[in-house]
Every structure is written in C-alpha cells, then in structure tokens.
Symmetry: C2
C-alpha cells in the first residue's frame, strides 16, 4: 500500500488554521462557531506548531491575532479546522483553495444527515468544491484528528501519552468515549480519526495510511457505512495478518440502519454480507465500545493462548456452575484438571464445600494469599490448561488486610506478565459491593491493574469472549499463513 | 395445590435449635462447627422466638444456656439448624427423631458433591434416616431459610424489610448475593430458600407452598437439577398465570453440567428439553443473578406495555445507532415517530447535529431539564410508541447544577410511576465516569431510584431485554387465557 504524504502532513501539522472559533472562552465543548475550545485542547496537548484563529469579526482570540480568512495567514497552512455554521462552509472552502490549504477538517454538522432538502443541497455543493479544489477533506460532521505525539486533538482533557493503537471512527461521540476511557484499559493512541459523513476521505483512505504507519500496531474501527466495500475487504484481509483489525460494524439491524441514515447518511449494508466479511478477513468483531476497549486490551497484554482450554479460579458452587456455562457459551472449553493436579491441590484444600475439578471453587483460599499463589501455580502447570481466569472476591480484602492485598496484586501482576508456562492469566473481580470500601478497592484495581499491563475484565462473560476471540485471531493468521 | 402446614411451621418457627454452634464469636461467616453467627443473624433480624444452642462441649453460648442435644430441649422444637461436621450429622438426625423435631435444615456440606466414596455413603445414610423418621429436610449443603417477617436467616446483615418476592435457590452463594443486593433494585423478600442437595425437600415442594402463599407475588428460582421434572412443569405452568416465575436454569452447557455435579450432585438435563420447558410454561428465562434482579425489578415496577415499540431518548449519533441495534437484537421495535410528533419536537430542537426520528439524539437538551420534560411528554404521547427508555448523560449534571438534577430525578420518578398515557418509562444512565463526582452521582441514583420504584438498568441491553421479556410474559398469559 502506498504511503500518503498528504495525510502525513495532516497528522503532523506545524501550521493550523482554526476557522470559526470565537473569543468566547465561557462556552464549554466545541460547537459551530462556538468557543475557543479547539485552541485550548491543542494547547493542553502541548502542540508545538503555530495556531492561527480565523474570524473576521474580531482581532484577538486567546491572545492570538485573529485573521479574517485563511488566505490572509502569512505562511502555508498544513491543516484547517472549520467550525463555522453549515451555510458558511462553501465560502471557507473556496478561501482554502485560494490559500492552497489542502488538508481540511470540517467539524460542522447539519448536512444530508438532517434529511432536509436545503441541507442536502448544501452538502452536494461542499463535496463539489472539495473535489474541484483537490481538498483532502475529513468530515463534515466529525471530530477530526487526535494525535498525541503531534499534540493535536479536538476534545478537552485528552491524554498526552502515545501508544500503538489507532482508531478510525464514523462517530465523534464514540471517539470521545474511547479516547477518554482508553487509559482505564491501559490503551494509548498513535492516531485517532473521526471522519463523519466522509465526503472525500473515507475509512479506506485512513486504513491505507495506518497499514504502513510504524507507530500503529492495532487498528480499531467503528463503521456505519463504507463507500468501497471491496477495497475495505482487501485492505482488512491484508493488514489483519500483521496488525489486528478490531471492527464494530454498526447499523446492521433494520432500526440501526435507519439510525445510521440519520447520523452520517451512510448505507449500513446487510448483516449476511458483513458476516462473510468477518469470516474471510479474520477481522475481530465487537458490538460495543466497552467490548472494543477490552478486546484492544487483550491484544495489547495477553499472549496468544495455545488452545481454548480455560481454568477458572473462583469461589462458590453456584458461581462455578455459572462460570462453566458462561465460558462454554463464549466458545472456551473448561476441562477437568488432571488427576495429578487435583491430588496436589487436595493437599491443602479440604473436600467439604469446595471443588478442585474446574471451575475451581476453593472458598476460603482467597483469604490466604500464599495458598492462592500455590493454587495458581499448580493450575498453570497443568498440561490440560491453556489459560487462566482468576476471580478474586474482594470481600476477602477485609479479612486479609491491606498488606496482603498489595502482595496479591503484585503476585497477580508478575504471574500474569510472565509465568514459566507462558500461559495467559487474566482477572475479573467477583464483587458487587455495597460496602463503600470494597467498591473503592474494586474501582481502583479495575483501573490500576490494566495500566500496569494486567488485563481486568468487567465480567467473566467479557473475559472469556475476549480470550476466545484472541485465540481465533491467532488461529486464523496461522491457517492463512499455511495456506499461502 | 395443597397447603403444607409443616412448611408453614418451618417458615414461621417460634422455637429453633442450633446444633453445632460454638462459643467462638470471633470466627466470621458460618461454617461447620464454627462460630455463633447463625444466632447473631437471627438476633439481627429481630427474631422473636426462642433459640436453643446445642453443643455438648460447652454450657453457655452468647449468654444462652447450651444443651447437649435436641432431645434435652425443654419444649417442642419447630426448626433445627445443623452445622456439625458431616460425619456427626446422622447422630444428630436420630436425636431429632427422638425429640420429634421434624423440620431440619442441614447447613453442613461434604457429601456426594465431593465425589468421594465415603462421603457418598454418608449421604445415603443421612437420606435413609430422614426418610425413616419422616423428617422434612432442607439440604444438606445449603443456607436454608430467610424469612424477614419471622426474623430468621443464616446470613449476616440481611434486610429486616419484607416484600412480595420469593427466591428458591440451589446455591447458597447465589442466595447470599441476591438477598444482599436485592434492595439496590427495590426488591424485598417474602421467603428465600436455599435447598442445596435436596435429599428430601426439592424445589417443587417449596413451589407448592409459594403458589398459595399470600405474601408472595413473584417467584425467582435458581435450579441446577430437578428430581421430578414433569411436576415442576405442571406447577410452573399453573403458577405462572398468576405469579410470574423467573427461572435461571444453570448447568446446561457440558462444562456447566459437570460443575453442577461437583456442586449439588444434581443432573443438569439437556438444553433442548429446557427450551421446551420455557416455551410451554411461559416461565421467564434469565442467565445470571444480575438479570434475575433486573427482571424482578421490571415485574415489580413496570406496567405491562401494550406492544414492543420503544422510543430511546439519548444523545450522540453513534450512541443512537448502537441503541437501535441493541433494542432490535433484544426483540423490541424502534419505529420512527409520527410526523406530527417530529414537527412538535422540531419547534425546540434544532436540526444540526440532532435526530428526532427515534432513537432521539437531542444532544444539548439534556442540559435543559424543562426542554427534556417537553421532549419526554411529546414522545410518550406518540401513538406509535409503547414504552420509553431514557438515557440521561450524567455529565450534564455539571452544567445544570444540583437543584436541576433533583428536579430531573423527581420528574422522571413521577412520570415513570404514572403518566397520562400509561406507558412504561425506564432509565439507563449513559455514563462511564472517570470523574469521581459523576461516578458517585451515578452510583447514588442507580440505587436510590429503584428503591423509589423507578427502574434503572445497568445497560441499554439489559433494559431492552427485560422490557421485551415483560411484554412476552403478558402476551403468553393473555393467549393462554384465550385458549382455555
């Protein structure tokens, strides 16, 4: 795939024009013609280039000289961010053509997605101008680019830290969520692109760039519609061998498809076609932002499992039954441990009220960290087991005290990152705490551990689903390589 | 169905013998031969009857005279709670027969569920003694009864408040969870029964009692296995016409079935058979405790919807697409609002960046409570809509201030309980808060509102699933009544 130098400039601009920002710093959140928040968010991200506010009605915005139009800016402009009201967009684009500014992000919405005739006509004009002028247009109706390395981004309070994950999204709201909560899952970004109505640049254009981007190792996508489906198919199939592509294809139900039309005026496509797409490209399907985040965390931090045989270490008999059912439904196997492992476990786990077959229901062992460590080590060594899900009961923390909690956390972190058997171990807390202390501990660990590279899942369901998909991804890649 | 006077005594005992409790008050949690926590939990529940500790090794427990055996207690015993180690159980049962104490709860575990031969043999002896003596045995390997009205219960910190919900559970751990977190969903109990290995009394015996129990209006069940499947079928089919039966049948996967054997030594049965069971009895299937709690909350507080057409009121375009997909997948319809309703909404909702078709993506309206109220009233009046799911963004609370949050909460409460169109309205917060203030607000409302009778669901998925099942339940009942 070709490297696109134009997009390279858009992702790493040194000179940015912000058209439509106002001097009003009180209004929160970016909106058409509103506020100076685009400037503030660049500043907060540490943008080292130059920002030129464009607004013919004022002379100064946030201490910067305001220019009446893009063509009056005294140097070449790498990226133009447009937030004027929709009817004013064509004029701004003509001005960009005059100024030879080619990389354009139109934040403004209010085109064909409204369903109104005048707005549709306006959209057609915008597209025509962009085509005629050879503009590389992102949007309209979108949040544009977030590149922490360059310090650009349209949302407030974005992280300045970079990471190997890219996100291409047809929804600005989803970008907002994913960029803000990703850190809770230990996820940081190379490039994030919200591209809205896709008048010129579509998902496939960004994919082309990310395929060869050395800063990107995992690609997440939220798509409502796509213009060139067969191009997307070829791209994803090829990229997916090297960089996992995690894809949420929305709008596949009838109601969802109608909602897509109201949102980005896209055609959502048929569910059967997309099933085939996933089966043949090996792209990893997800159905929500939370699942996308947990799946990304899985690719970042979990080693490829050798098989689908999981051991679940928890407590409670009913809970064990539920665990076995959940894992099976999500596509994992829950085999009984070997007789040897069971015999070793029986040396320190009494028979009454426990089960050591798998799922392991070892009750009180969660109150004795050294025994729990022994249990984990034995299970991980079992040749019938490919991966472990540990479900600590946080109420145990009351009886074992804070120093033992720290010891447990450190042990789980070290064992999860690196154990002699090379087997993945992930966590999912078994706790629904009314107790505020327990709720706080859970909230803390749920964020802290993934940031340290230890995957913690919101539920056993989502943990087993992610592990099953991780296994399937690697199996697909292996078979694809063998069949070549 | 026959009223069982023996069970009536077990549920409302005046004299209780606790065999195997010790004077050790330090050990937390009930366990074989351990602690005095059974006595403490009865005391905490305000039990008004008399408790006789039985322990030959001591003379006083928690200020009460300890008796060497049941037959030495100076009055007739209504209920015996046994927590001696498994090998000592037969002797205690013989003593109960001597004392003519017929209602027995065996907490002790360590029988055939261990898979060990000696333990299986011990179980056979226990069953034989119980049969010979005509004992009405609950258990072994279970938590027994929780009846707030009578003040009996084996767990610490149970609620003293009564309500119309009964729970029959083959797992003590699930009882523990459900009884402790139910209040978060506005759920309070008439009778809760944890019955474990079911040597004598099985789910069908308790169901027979609850069918005619005037304090019980909704019956929840967690079943691993059942001895008399056709009896259960007939019972559920009949009861379900009057009192909804919500059933979690666990262990239907292969691994789950094996876990069931390790837990309560039951036979889990085939998935196809149970699918037929649900289809023909109209029982409401759930797959987790959380779903059971949300489904129960739905029956308690949501009026029967007239159809399956839902309106979703949220904000964000991507979020609307996801909402439409989710509701459709869960079996609801998401029709476009009438032209009239859309025209009325357009009078105060601008077209750019919004959608008023359904799902409603009305963005900033969540920052203006009076406009949101107007939106809700218009949508509820739409003849194409049968029910509403409102998804408030809690980050709006930052901009609108605490008094407006209170106003919104009160409005939602009043409209949800009683609106002129008689349409159900439920909530699911659209918020994943890193912001501690927002997280706290969410946690508070998620508990407070259901306690006031306003259903709040953990996700849109679970809200739409519960509403779809509520509709199906009432449709089934209506069709059953018409076919009679």
């Amino acid at each position: 795939m070709a490297w696109d130098p134009a997009l390279e400039v858009a992702f790493h601009p040194r000179v940015v024009a912000m058209v439509g920002v106002s001097a009003d710093t009180k209004r929160s959140g970016p909106r058409p013609g509103g506020g100076s928040s685009f400037i503030s968010s660049y500043e907060q991200l540490g943008f080292q280039g130059r920002i030129y506010p464009v607004n013919p009605k004022t002379t100064k915005i946030l201490g910067r000289k305001a220019y009446p139009n893009v063509s009056s800016i005294p140097e070449p402009v790498d990226l133009v961010v447009i937030s004027v009201p929709a009817p004013a967009v064509p004029e701004v684009l003509e001005d960009c053509i005059t100024a030879n500014a080619r990389n354009i992000h139109i934040y403004t919405s209010g085109f064909e997605e409204t369903g109104e005739e005048a707005a549709k006509e306006l959209g057609r004009r915008v597209r025509q101008i962009a085509l005629r002028g050879g503009l590389r247009l992102i949007g309209p109706n979108c949040m544009g680019l977030y590149v922490p390395k360059t310090g650009i981004g349209s949302f407030a309070q974005l992280s300045r830290e970079s990471g190997p994950v890219a996100f291409i999204s047809q929804s600005g709201g989803h970008c907002n969520w994913f960029c803000h909560y990703a850190a809770n899952y230990g996820i940081y970004f190379s490039k994030v692109i919200s591209f809205g109505n896709a008048y010129i640049l579509d998902s496939t254009d960004f994919l082309e760039y990310l395929a060869v981007d050395p800063d990107t190792g995992i690609i997440c996508m939220y798509l409502e519609g796509v213009k060139d489906g067969s191009k997307l198919f070829r791209q994803v199939k090829e990229i997916n061998r090297v960089k996992p592509v995690i894809l949420w294809k929305a709008g596949l139900t009838e109601s969802g498809s109608r909602a897509v039309a109201s949102h980005t005026a896209s055609l959502a496509g048929k569910e059967a076609i997309w099933r085939g797409f996933f089966a043949q490209t090996g792209a990893v399907p997800v159905l929500s932002l939370e699942e996308m985040a947990e799946m990304t965390m899985t690719f970042l931090y979990v080693k490829p499992p050798r098989g689908k045989r999981v051991a679940v270490l928890g407590s409670g008999g009913g809970s064990s039954v539920a665990s076995a059912d959940v894992c099976s439904r999500e596509g994992l196997e829950v085999p009984a441990l070997t007789q040897e492992t069971q015999a070793e476990l029986r040396k320190f786990i009494s028979p009454a009220g426990t089960s050591i077959k798998n799922p392991l229901d070892t009750g009180l062992i969660f109150r004795d960290v050294s025994l729990l460590e022994r249990e984990i080590a034995l299970v991980a060594a079992d040749p019938l087991i490919d991966m472990l899900i540990v479900r600590p009961h946080l109420d145990m923390a009351h009886s074992i005290g804070p120093d033992q909690v720290d010891r447990l956390v450190n042990y789980l972190r070290d064992f999860s990152r690196d154990n002699p058997h090379g087997k993945p171990m992930v966590l999912s807390f078994n706790s629904w705490a009314n107790d505020p202390w327990e709720a706080e501990l859970r909230a803390r660990l749920q964020v802290e551990l993934p940031q340290k590279g230890v995957p913690v899942y919101s539920s056993l369901d989502s943990a087993s689903r992610a592990l099953a998909k991780l296994f399937e991804y690697h199996r697909f890649q292996k078979e694809a390589a063998e069949n070549q």
